[in-house]
């Protein structure tokens, strides 16, 4: 899921200071799980804005904020409230916010959150980054652990000289990803693979921005 955190309230208020009435859009997927765009957060923001003397013309928690067509359909019922709003605040990730920008060509749209990374929820509202969406997965060669993401240097061949007692040079709070890869390969009996493979330099063309993909085209193939 996409991990988000709330922007400081003061910064948000500063960015919308010129608008009196606002419509709030949340998201029931990632942002809800992150505690940045669910029912509670919508309610909290509504109250905070009203405490500042603003008018909240309506709120809606989208089923999937980044699903443009679906969200557009859902928002039809709020036609009047949306018309009455000077601006829209979106409480989701950057993708959800830009979905709203597409939907409201004539209205200012503001993000309420900072989008952090694609993450796994390891415990309730504790998130870890495992994949950087590089466009061509190589973890078949590295024991299923992604060095591009788990090593702060994204090294593809092996550990740097900074490993200290199995911990990473960058932070003693993280295990060196290449020590983890080494241990896992040993455990699954594939140390020879690790010895033999020197991965090619990464093909960054596979992750050139902005990316687009058609699963429909894929199906035809």
């Amino acid at each position: 899921m996409i991990i988000t955190k709330k922007k400081e309230r003061g910064k948000l208020l500063e960015s919308i200071k010129d608008y009196q009435s606002l419509f709030l859009v949340g998201c029931s997927e990632c942002a809800s799980l992150c505690g940045t765009g669910g029912d509670t957060e919508l309610q909290e923001l509504k109250e905070a804005l009203e405490a500042q003397g603003k008018t909240v013309t309506g709120t809606h928690k989208a089923k999937t904020g980044c699903q443009v067509l679906g969200t557009k359909t859902e928002l039809k019922q709020y036609k009047d409230a949306l018309n009455a709003a000077d601006a829209v605040i979106v409480m989701s990730c950057g993708a959800g916010t830009q979905a709203a920008v597409e939907m409201f060509p004539d209205k200012p749209v503001y993000p309420c959150n900072d989008s952090l990374f694609l993450g796994n929820m390891t415990r309730f509202q504790i998130f870890d980054e495992r994949c950087s969406l590089c466009g061509e997965c190589i973890i078949d060669k590295t024991g299923g652990i992604c060095p591009l993401t788990n090593c702060p240097k994204g090294l593809l061949v092996g550990p740097c000289g900074g490993v200290k007692d199995g911990k990473c040079e960058v932070s003693q709070d993280i295990d060196c990803c290449w020590v983890r890869i080494y241990e896992r390969m040993k455990r699954i009996g594939r140390l020879d693979d690790l010895m033999e493979t020197t991965l090619e330099p990464k093909d960054w063309a596979a992750s050139q921005k902005p990316r687009a993909h058609s699963a429909r085209e894929d199906k035809k193939k």
Partner: protein, 293 residues
Amino acid sequence: MTFREALESGKFVVTAEVGPPKGTDISEMLHHMDLLKGKVDAVNVTDNQSAVMRINSMSVCKLALERGLEPVLQMTCRDRNRIALQSDLLGASILGIRNVLCMTGDHVSAGDHKSAKPVYDIESVQLLQAVEGLNGGRDMAGNELRGATNYFQGAVVTPEANPLEPQLIKFTKKVRAGARFFQTQAIYDVEAFKGFMEHARKHQVKVLAGFVVLKSVGMARFLNNNVPGIRVPEELIGELKAAGKEKALDTGMDITARHIRQLKDEGICDGVHIMAIGMEEKVPEIMSRAGLL
């Protein structure tokens, strides 16, 4: 005799490190270079060491050449993508720089520009492959070059890393990628280093043991606690303690000289690399105590 010829001839070689300053006043650095001239086989010029922004390695290597010293261009993958790295390698080559030390580089979070974007488009092993390619007349994209480079390329290794085996695997990959010589992280335990050399001797590469002179008990403890892959044994710390504050540096120089002498006498490795870190003026003295001058 060039650095490469010296190593290939089997001579016990000595290299020392020169750290470019932060700013354009290079008087002290030039003074250090002059002290080393005629004494060491080559000087390594560091590349924004510890991710702290300084004068680049290439310019200082060129100055070293002009002053009659043979430079080893240190090159890290932290700050440049593969285009910039290869471009710099071509540039250094036309300036007459013949030795390159390929490293991944300390992370920007260790340095003085913590908000910089770390690059690491490639890493040490892939950089070695790139050098091998340029030497063979091709760039990383497979394009033919108009004129190839002629580098003598090396890499670094940490013989006391913990755990060691992943480092040894990477060491082997560096050899396969074309590394001809290695300079090691500072070593303080000759017996442990011998163990590493048994592994290294399975490969056709030259190994220069790294030395950082101990200045005080505090420094030894700092290295143990903070620098990965450095382990100063308690006996040495005891020796520094016994010497007292006044004589600690002198004792540290003795320890280095003694270790160098042992490595040379017992033919354990092919040379030494002295990283004086701000004490470059002491290098000739250490060399003479080690019987190298």
